[in-house]
C-alpha cells in the first residue's frame, strides 16, 4: 500500500528553516563539497584550488590594508569627536562595496542556483541560498573587513560606544550585502533584454562622459592652481562658496540615506540620544527591507521559472540580422567575422573590455593628488594607464576558445588548422586592444596632460613586447586551461580561477619587466634606452609567439578531449 506523506504548500514540510529545508541545505552543502573534492582529482582542479587560495590571499591583503586605513581614520575622527565627517567613511565603504565586485567582475566566479528550481525548494530557502552564495564573495569579505576596521577605530577611541558601533555597522553591512546582490541580480536581468541593455549601456556611457568631463575640468583647475599655492586654494574656495547651498542640501539628503544613517546612529549615541539613535537605526533597517525587497522581487521571478536566455530570445528575434560580411572567403576572414559578431553580441565581454577604461580615470586620479604633479613629475602614469587597459583582455587573450561552447567541435571537424583559428583570433584581439589602449592613452592624457615623447615611444615599444607575450601565454592557457564562458553573465563560472589568476600573474610579470626597464633607464638618465630594450625583447616575444602558434595544432590535438569536454559542459 502506498504511503502518502503530507507536504507543505510548496511541496516541502516546515518553513525555510524547517526539517525539509534543512535537509535540502545539507544536501546542497554536501553536493558542493563533493564537487569540490571530486574537482581535486584533476590537475586543473588542484590548480584552481591553488589559484583561488592565492586570490583570496590578495583580497585579504587588500581588505586588511583598507581596514587598517579605515580604522585609523575612524580612530582619528572619534578621538577628535569630528563626527560630522564620519559619513564620509560610510560612503566610502558603500562605494567600495558596490564598485569592487564590478571592478573584479570578470575575475569573480558565480554559482548558478537555477539548477535548484527543479527541486521542491521554498522561495525562502532559495533566497537564503542566494544570499549565502553572495556572502562567500570577495566584495563581502573586503566590505566586512572595512566595517570591522571602522568599528575597531571607534571602539579604541570610545570604548563605551562598542555596542552602538557594532549594531550600526552590522545593519549597515547587511544593507550593503543585500544591495550588491540586488544590483547584480537586476543587472543580469537588464543585460538579458535588448531595450534595458541599451538603456543601461546609454546610462553607463553618460556616466562615463560625465566623469571624464568633471575629471578634466577639475584637473585643469588644479593644474592652474599648482602654479601658485595661494592661487591654488582660490578655485577650490570659489567652488565651495558657489555651491555651498547645494552642498548643504546634499549633506542633509545623505543623512536620510544608508551611509548617512549608519553614521548618524553613532553620532546620536554619542550625544546620549538613544531614542534618536534607535530611530536612525530603524530607518537604516527600512533601507535593509527595501534592498531585500528589490532582491526578493528579482529572485521571485527567477524562482517562478523566468529564463533570462528566453527573455533575450524574444528581443533578439527582432534584432538586426547583421548585413555585413568581411571580404574574402578564406577561413581566416570567416573566423575574424564570427569572432567580431560574437563579441558585439556578448555584453559581458564588451563589459570586461571597456570597464578598465573607467578605472583608468581613477588610476590617473591617483597620480594627480599633488597640486604640483603633472605628467613630467610622474612619467610612468601614462604607460601604467595603458597597461591597465590590458587587464580587460585577460579573458580574450587567455581563454580565447571559451566562448565557442559546443562550436569547438566544428573547429576540430573542419579542415582549417587550429593555428589559423588562433592566429585570426589573436590578430583581431590585438587590433581591439590597440584601440582600447589608444582610448586609455587619450583618457590618461586628458587627465594628466600629454606625456613627453620619449614616454610615448617607450610605451609603444613596451606594447610591442607585451602583446606577443600575452598572446603566446594566452594560446597555451586557452588550449590547456579553458573554461566555458556564459555569454549572458558578467561573472565567470566556477573553475575559472586556474586560468584567471596565473593569467593575471603573467600580465603582472610583463608589466613588472616594463616597470623595471623604465625605472632602470630613467634612474640612469638614459631616457631613450627603454625603446631599443623593449624592441629587442619584442623580437624575442614575437619569435616565441610564432613558435607557440606553430605548435598549436599539436597542442590542441593533445588536449582535444578535455577541451571539448570542458567547453561543451552544460551550464
Amino acid at each position: 500500500m502506498a504511503v502518502v506523506t503530507r507536504v507543505g504548500a510548496n511541496g516541502t514540510g516546515g518553513g525555510m528553516l524547517g526539517r525539509d529545508a534543512r535537509a535540502q541545505y545539507a544536501a546542497i552543502a554536501r553536493m558542493r563539497w563533493l564537487m569540490f573534492r571530486n574537482g581535486l582529482r584533476s590537475i586543473h582542479g588542484l590548480l584552481d584550488l591553488g589559484a583561488t587560495g592565492i586570490a583570496w590571499m590578495l583580497y585579504s591583503v587588500f581588505g586588511l590594508c583598507l581596514g587598517i586605513g579605515l580604522c585609523t581614520a575612524a580612530y582619528s575622527l572619534a578621538s577628535r569627536a569630528s563626527w560630522q565627517y564620519l559619513p564620509i567613511l560610510f560612503w566610502a565603504i558603500s562605494f567600495l562595496w558596490l564598485m569592487f565586485p564590478i571592478a573584479i567582475a570578470s575575475f569573480q566566479e558565480q554559482s548558478d542556483l537555477g539548477i535548484l528550481l527543479r527541486f521542491p525548494v521554498r522561495f525562502g530557502s532559495y533566497f537564503i541560498l542566494y544570499l549565502i552564495s553572495g556572502l562567500m564573495e570577495a566584495s563581502t569579505f573586503v566590505g566586512v573587513l572595512c566595517c570591522l576596521g571602522v568599528w575597531l577605530g571607534i571602539v579604541i577611541a570610545r570604548p563605551d560606544l562598542y555596542l552602538w558601533a557594532a549594531l550600526g555597522l552590522s545593519v549597515f553591512a547587511v544593507f550593503n550585502i543585500l544591495l550588491v546582490r540586488a544590483v547584480f541580480a537586476w543587472i543580469d536581468r537588464w543585460l538579458a533584454q535588448r531595450k534595458t541593455r541599451e538603456i543601461l549601456g546609454a546610462v553607463f556611457m553618460v556616466l562615463f562622459v560625465c566623469l571624464l568631463v568633471i575629471n578634466s575640468v577639475w584637473s585643469q583647475k588644479r593644474y592652474e592652481g599648482s602654479k601658485n599655492h595661494k592661487e591654488a586654494a582660490a578655485p577650490l574656495r570659489e567652488v565651495m562658496d558657489k555651491y555651498a547651498p547645494l552642498l548643504k542640501t546634499g549633506a542633509q539628503v545623505q543623512q536620510g540615506l544608508p551611509p548617512g544613517l549608519g553614521a548618524r546612529t553613532l553620532q546620536q549615541a554619542l550625544e546620549q540620544k538613544p531614542v534618536a539613535g534607535f530611530a536612525s537605526l530603524g530607518m537604516l533597517g527600512l533601507w535593509v527591507v527595501l534592498a531585500g525587497g528589490a532582491l526578493a522581487g528579482r529572485l521571485k521571478a527567477q524562482y517562478r521559472g523566468e529564463n533570462l536566455s528566453w527573455a533575450s530570445s524574444r528581443d533578439k528575434a527582432i534584432g538586426r540580422g547583421g548585413g555585413w560580411t568581411l571580404g574574402g572567403s578564406r577561413p581566416f576572414a570567416a573566423i575574424v567575422e564570427k569572432e567580431l559578431r560574437s563579441l558585439l553580441r556578448s555584453v559581458p565581454l564588451l563589459w570586461a573590455v571597456s570597464v578598465p577604461l573607467l578605472f583608468v580615470l581613477v588610476i590617473a586620479g591617483v597620480f594627480h593628488r599633488s597640486p604640483s604633479s603633472d605628467m613630467n613629475s610622474f612619467p610612468f602614469a601614462f604607460p601604467l594607464c595603458v597597461a591597465y587597459a590590458l587587464l580587460g583582455f585577460t579573458g580574450l587573450f587567455y581563454n580565447n576558445l571559451g566562448a565557442e561552447g559546443a562550436g569547438i567541435q566544428l573547429l576540430f571537424i573542419s579542415p582549417t588548422p587550429i593555428r589559423t583559428v588562433l592566429l585570426a583570433k589573436n590578430l583581431l584581439h590585438s587590433i581591439l586592444f590597440v584601440l582600447v589602449g589608444f582610448a586609455a592613452g587619450i583618457l590618461s592624457c586628458l587627465r594628466l596632460g600629454v606625456p613627453p615623447f620619449v614616454v610615448l615611444a617607450a610605451t609603444g615599444a613596451w606594447l610591442v613586447f607585451a602583446l606577443p607575450c600575452n598572446l603566446a601565454a594566452g594560446i597555451i592557457f586557452s588550449l590547456t586551461m579553458p573554461y566555458r564562458i556564459n555569454p549572458g553573465r558578467i561573472t565567470r563560472p566556477a573553475g575559472a580561477q586556474a586560468n584567471t589568476l596565473p593569467a593575471a600573474l603573467i600580465q603582472l610579470g610583463v608589466l613588472g619587466v616594463g616597470v623595471f626597464v623604465f625605472w632602470l633607464c630613467w634612474s640612469s638618465k638614459s631616457r631613450w634606452l627603454p625603446v631599443p630594450i623593449f624592441l629587442a625583447l619584442a623580437v624575442g616575444a614575437i619569435f616565441v609567439w610564432m613558435r607557440i602558434l606553430h605548435y598549436s595544432d599539436g597542442n590542441a590535438n593533445q588536449h582535444r578531449d578535455s577541451l571539448i569536454a570542458t567547453l561543451m559542459k552544460a551550464e
Partner: protein
C-alpha cells in the same frame, strides 16, 4: 577491389582503465547507408567521435576513402560532413551567419557559400528564421541547422550522431529524403540513432556495438538470417524486425524486459 568509404582496424579507446570502444573493425562500402546501433553507453558516440577526429583513438587505425584519417588529414576532412553529438553550433550567430562561417571554414568561395546557404535554409525551412540567434532556436531547428552545416560543402561521407532526435515528423521525412538522395548519388552515410524504425527503413547495412565491442555486422538480411539460425523454434520465412534482431543479439545486455518492480511506484 573497391576501396571502402570507411574502414577501421582494431579501433580502441580507453578512458582510464575503462575500454569504451575495444577492437572495433568494420568496413563500410561507398554508397552505403550504414546504421551503427547499440544500447546507451555501448560506445556509439565514442566511435563516431574517433571517426570524425573529435577523439583520439587509443589504438587502431581509421581509413576514409582509402586515406589514413587523423587530425592532420585536412584534405580528407573536406570530404567529410558531421552532425556530432553536441551539434557544434555557435549560439551567438544567426543561421545564415553560421552557415557562411562553416562554408568558409571548409574553403568554399563566397559566392558558392551564399548560394548554398540560401538553398539550405530554404530546404530546411529555416529561411524565415534568418534574424534569430542560433541559441534561441528550438532543439529541432538546431538539428536541422546542424544537418545543413554538415552538408554545405558537399561531403562524400556523412557521419550523423542522432540526427533525428527532437526533429518533427515533417522535417524528419525531409531529411530522410535528402539523405536517400545523397546515397543515390554515391555518398556514404554513417548513422547512429536509437530509433530502430529509421535504421530499418533507411539503412542497407547495420553494425551493433555493445559494451564497446562489435557484436554484429552485415546487411539487414544477413542479420535476419543469422538471428533465425541462432534462435530455436523460428518458423520458415519468419521476417524479423530490426528491433527483434537488436534484442535477440543483445539478449540480457539489452534488458528487453525487466521483471523487477519498483516498490514505491503506483
Amino acid at each position: 577491389m573497391e576501396i571502402p568509404a570507411i574502414q577501421t582496424n582494431g579501433l580502441t579507446r580507453f578512458f582510464g582503465a575503462l575500454a569504451a570502444v575495444e577492437d572495433v573493425t568494420l568496413s563500410v562500402a561507398p554508397g552505403q547507408f550504414f546504421g551503427f546501433l547499440g544500447p546507451n553507453g555501448a560506445g556509439k558516440s565514442t566511435t563516431i567521435k574517433m571517426l570524425t577526429g573529435l577523439l583520439e583513438p587509443s589504438a587502431g587505425t581509421i581509413d576514409i576513402l582509402g586515406q589514413r584519417f587523423g587530425p592532420e588529414a585536412r584534405e580528407l576532412k573536406r570530404q567529410i560532413g558531421v552532425v556530432p553529438e553536441g551539434m557544434a553550433l555557435l549560439g551567438r550567430l544567426t543561421a545564415p551567419e553560421y552557415l557562411h562561417f562553416v562554408g568558409r571554414m571548409y574553403g568554399l568561395d563566397a559566392a558558392t557559400t551564399n548560394q548554398r546557404t540560401e538553398e539550405l535554409l530554404e530546404f530546411m525551412q529555416l529561411a524565415g528564421e534568418g534574424r534569430k540567434l542560433v541559441t534561441d532556436f528550438s532543439h529541432g531547428m538546431q538539428k536541422k541547422l546542424a544537418m545543413a552545416a554538415a552538408v554545405i560543402h558537399g561531403p562524400k561521407v556523412l557521419f550523423l550522431d542522432e540526427p533525428f532526435e527532437g526533429v518533427d515528423a515533417i522535417a524528419a521525412g525531409m531529411l530522410k529524403n535528402m539523405l536517400t538522395g545523397m546515397i543515390n548519388r554515391g555518398a556514404t552515410v554513417f548513422l547512429t540513432t536509437h530509433v530502430l524504425e529509421i535504421v530499418e527503413r533507411l539503412c542497407s547495412h547495420v553494425a551493433i556495438i555493445s559494451k564497446g565491442r562489435l557484436v554484429a555486422i552485415g546487411s539487414l538480411d544477413e542479420l535476419r538470417a543469422g538471428v533465425a539460425s541462432a534462435l530455436p523454434g523460428v518458423e520458415q520465412g519468419q521476417r524479423f524486425t530490426l528491433e527483434e534482431i537488436f534484442l535477440a543479439i543483445l539478449g540480457a545486455d539489452g534488458h528487453p524486459e525487466s521483471t523487477q518492480e519498483l516498490s514505491w511506484l503506483l
